[in-house]
């Protein structure tokens, strides 16, 4: 008999809008202890808004968000939104997680130890004094994961954690997140990368303003669901027990070439 896992956050028919235009419609979703979910969908499908609804940083115009009492969240923003030229060292970024309720500007010995511990855990020990721009892509992503982890969250939310990074960094980040999830941390991330990230995750949410499907990749990564999610025909192949998604690029591009000529 499997025990029902504790629900951390539950969205019940949530609709969010910027102005009058709904960007997320009637979304019902539960995030439970130990979950490792990916939210996929085309640009403008409401992925980041769904993440923000889970965070509580956008207020729904309909529906409700219920967060279990005492649940703490960690948030890792898109690296593209970070000002890499800001004069701030790795330690200064990580200690930002200890802002609320702290009076003194300098870090206490305990706080410094905690920062060292989390940097060590993420394999970036000894980089505390370095400026954030002086790090590799994978190290930069780890700094922001470290900041989120310092708050000891029950749920880690990441917005496009592998966008704009090379294959090696993508593998590093995915392995790191897998390890954290194995240690018991619930994780929800958004991604554009169907083959590199989404198909490796245990649970997916396909979104196009409303939730089209959710479940294991094997169940949701089908041509029908992907076409309804992306509005484009896609083929799903199986290779080595994994799904590989191929969009029918040629079918779409040939008429454009012809019309352009």
């Amino acid at each position: 008999m499997t025990q029902e896992r504790r629900t951390l956050i539950e969205l019940d028919r949530v609709t969010c809008a910027y102005g009058r235009r709904p960007v997320l419609s009637n979304a019902t979703l539960a995030v439970r202890v130990g979950d490792f979910s990916g939210i996929v969908g085309p640009s403008g499908s409401g992925k980041t808004t769904l993440l923000r609804a889970l965070l509580g940083s956008v207020q729904p115009i309909a529906g409700s968000v219920r967060r279990e009492r005492g649940v703490t969240l960690g948030y890792v923003p898109q690296v593209e939104t970070v000002n890499w030229d800001f004069p701030v060292t790795v330690s200064e970024v990580v200690i930002m997680a200890r802002t609320r309720g702290r009076i003194l500007p300098w870090a206490s010995r305990n706080e410094r130890d905690d920062v060292e511990e989390v940097l060590d855990r993420l394999g970036i020990a000894g980089l505390g004094r370095r400026h954030i721009r002086e790090l590799s892509g994978g190290q930069q992503q780890r700094v922001f994961i470290a900041r989120a982890l310092l708050a000891k969250p029950d749920l880690l939310l990441l917005d496009e954690p592998t966008s704009g990074v090379d294959v090696r960094t993508r593998h590093e980040v995915l392995h790191l997140l897998g390890d954290l999830n194995a240690e018991g941390l619930a994780i929800v991330l958004t991604t554009h990368d169907l083959n590199g990230i989404a198909s490796h995750l245990p649970h997916l949410v396909c979104l196009n303003t409303e939730i089209i499907a959710e479940g294991e990749p094997r169940r949701v990564l089908t041509s029908d669901v992907l076409e309804r999610t992306y509005g484009e025909p896609m083929d799903v192949l199986e290779h080595g027990g994994m799904q590989i998604i191929i969009d029918r690029y040629e079918h779409n591009v040939i008429p454009i070439r012809r019309s352009a000529s």
Binding site: Y75, D85, F86, T89, M96, T99, R100
Partner: protein, 285 residues
């Protein structure tokens, strides 16, 4: 130039007051300027000083105390800019442009309609050390101490909000309150230092020390200290030169800062230039 010549102006009480105010004003603007520059709001010092000029004119016409009238006007303008920028109705530079120039124009119109304000307009525009009263010295001391305490006790939330407002907000930091607090401190700093630095030149004292400090360091805490020290030094040296060269205090303080910028720019070279890129980025989005 002999030591006695350098010490000569200290015989006069007005100069002693002026040195205290200019030194504190330089340090104060250097401190607050770090946040202004890193938020990509360098134009705000220029704009707010103009807005406060409008308030100063209105308070003179209405017979109100300068600090009360100009202070309320400045705080209201600063909060309005913060609110408009936060709601992303228009960009921060446009918000500053619209709100503060309208306020400045209103001040000019009031002076045109009801005669000149009781305070010298020249002194307000370009800065003057003449006629700084003991009360005004204490106002600058009080505002400097207040700003220092705000930065000390709100260091972490100010840094987090300046670097990454969205994550700060979801991490439980009341970013709206932090932004409002910074705007109030900024308006207070401009109000208190306007007499010595002048409306036209005050923006430079906010920007130059922070930019010089940025060229030296990649650490926020060090940038804060360095900018404060550089601002203090520029205020002190500039005020003394102002007397010796018989040039207005605001202009001399800014020129000392600009000369220092040039020297540091030549010393730090490409590394300094790269670091300066941050001061061009509109950090919080």
């Amino acid at each position: 130039m002999t030591v006695s010549r350098l010490l000569e102006p200290y015989k006069f009480e007005f100069f002693f007051h002026g040195v205290i105010v200019a030194t504190l004003a330089g340090g104060l603007c250097g401190l607050i300027g770090v946040y202004v520059v890193l938020r990509g709001m360098s134009y705000i010092g220029h704009g707010l000083s103009h807005a406060i000029f409008g308030g100063a004119a209105a308070s003179a016409v209405l017979g109100l105390n300068f600090y009360v009238g100009a202070g309320i006007w400045g705080f209201a303008s600063a909060l309005m800019i913060g609110r408009v920028t936060r709601r992303r109705l228009i960009g921060s530079d446009a918000a500053i442009g619209v709100i503060t120039t309208a306020s400045f124009a209103l001040g000019l119109a009031l002076i045109g309609l009801f005669g000149s304000a009781s305070k010298s307009i020249d002194a307000t525009l370009f800065g003057s050390i003449l006629g700084i009263s003991t009360t005004e010295v204490w106002v600058v001391v009080g505002v400097t101490a207040g700003a220092g305490l705000v930065v000390f006790f709100r260091y972490r939330s100010l840094l987090f909000t300046t670097f990454d407002a969205e994550v700060a907000e979801v991490s439980g930091v009341n970013t709206a309150r932090v932004d409002a607090l910074l705007m109030l401190v900024l308006a207070g700093s401009i109000l208190a230092t306007m007499q010595v630095l002048g409306v036209i030149l005050i923006a430079a004292t906010l920007v130059i020390p922070a930019v010089i400090a940025r060229m030296f360091t990649n650490s926020f805490s060090r940038m804060l200290w360095l900018s404060t020290i550089i601002g203090t030094a520029c205020g002190f040296v500039g005020m003394n030169l102002s007397y010796q060269l018989d040039i207005s205090s605001g202009a001399t303080i800014v020129l000392v800062g600009a000369a220092l910028f040039l020297v540091v720019f030549l010393i730090t070279g490409p590394a300094g230039l790269r670091r300066l890129a941050a001061t061009d980025a509109h950090a919080p989005s």
